[in-house]
Amino acid sequence: MSFKIVVKRLLFFVLVVWAASTIVFFIPRLSSRNAIRERFGELARTGGFSPGDIEKMIASMQQQFGLDKPIFEQYWQYLGNIMRLDFGYSLSKYPTTATEVIAQALPWTIGLLLVTTVLSFVMGTLLGAVAAWPKAPGWLRSLATPFILLTGVPPVIMGILLLFFIGFRLKWLPLGGAYSAGIVPTWSWSFFLDLMQHQILPALALILGSVGGWVLSMRGMGITIQGEDYVNFAEHKGLTGGRIFRDYYLRNALLPQVTGLALALGTVITSAVIVEGIFGLPGIGTALNLAIRANDFPVIYGIVIFITIAIAALMTILEFVYPLLDPRIREN
């Protein structure tokens, strides 16, 4: 891969992040809503400050957030802050910064996302390959069908159905939260088991709905590959079925599948965020939910920009992985 392509990809990454940050900067400023005023309005209702004090506090806050400066100066400062991943202070948990809120929530989300995405990608690809493989036993091939039927169900709804049938009716698994109420987080085996129990339903909600997509794309590709001359040739050379399956079949479908993964990242991450909210796991989704309820704009915008950066970065990384997967790209 030439130097020029690397620069081009990195430039694209910067452009995507810049576009997202610019949208997030200008849209709230087009609306008449003043986050600081609203926040203090709430405080005034509960705290009983005098109106004069409130006005002074608002003015000093405006100054601290730099909202009294001309808009382009604000914009430059804002872009600089984003480069340092500084999204400002949380309005509802004041001394905490939005970045700290994100950092606390992040490990939960990464754990859930990593496990579910890898599992559903691997399962879907294998099931799809088997479904298109004429020599596979019938029961194995039909295993793919239920997953294909489930693709239409959004993960959130899958979550609610799982909560109803497994959590509410059968009472096998808990109805939400990260761990049982009353348990103190410790590094113990029992706490770990409890933690895992709470993760099963959200993970299932994400996996069940997404396996079908990978099955469909892999099966489609598998059917095309079977007609290819090199597969016929390999068969006539007398290679074993397993060898053809692995080296001639899966190997060639890998690149389009990984491209599909890069394209699906946005959907995968947003669904995970919303599913977390439904199950009340303390990840980014719940942080976003709480921020929306509390009108905590720096946190909302911080989460939005952070996720965009993460997605753009992952896509760029996957683009750099292509040449490792496909020698044809390496040579060009």
């Binding site: 995507v16 576009a19 949208i23 959004p154 109805l175 946005g266 947003t270 439904i278 915008y301 997605i311």
Partner: protein
Amino acid sequence: MANITMVSPSPTISQPSNVVLFFRYLRRNKGLALGVIILVALFLFTVIGLLVVNPKHAYPLSAGLKQPPSLKYPFGTDFFGRDLLAAMVVGMWQTAFIGLLAGGIGTLVGVVLGFTSAYFGGWIDAAVRTVCQILTPIPVLLIQVVVAGSLDKRDVTIFTMALIVAMLAWMGPTLVIRAQVMTMKERQFVAVAKLSGVSDMGIIFREILPNLLPFIAAAFVGQVFSAVFASFYLAVLGLGPLREPLLGNIIWAAQSQGAFFNGWWWWPLEPAFAMILILGALALVNMGLDELANPRVRRSE
């Protein structure tokens, strides 16, 4: 010499009407048929429901609180005293409104941009393509969260919901239509039309557009699907018009009140099933139309 009588071959070849042809096609394309049947059923449910049910019962304090499904309230009532049957009817109608409006706007913008960009090429094409490429990796839902969150709560209505959803949903159809126009404008009939002096607009509207109608229809259904999906997600996050009984709002409210913890299972479950029916039907129709528009995708079995 024998008299040879010419028996004229019967000139009337009965050409079945378009409706009959459509039904024959549906018999082959089972997925499309199933999707259409579900959509028709949902349509009937909504229309009959709007006639029978008092829409006011879809709003708080119109019925007893937290009643499980019974003869009086076949779908039960919720924590705020909404009759869920009425809420489903109104919510379904609102979902359809958002989907059709946002899907229509998205498709229209996509068709216009796709046509201009592919037909005229040059810097317009480069600009449209670059903007689409840069915007595509940005998760649309999150931008919609920013827009909906920045609006005053009173300004969030069913109508603004549709606009928010439509605002960032035109990239997909633009790229699809652009690709189709690109191949179409190299075809011979377009070249003939050009040589015979048909104007650009004439070529676009009379030569290319009619050939693209199946693609535009498929793009439209796809847009309706993603609009319904996006507005549902926004509502589940609590960014919808909170007073309205949108399906996502009902789920949001049920989750915030801990419906499962408290045993009010019917409350979140009903909108969930309704959503599965809507999205499933739209997905089936979309796949079916793809097959219609793109005969090469025909199933391999």
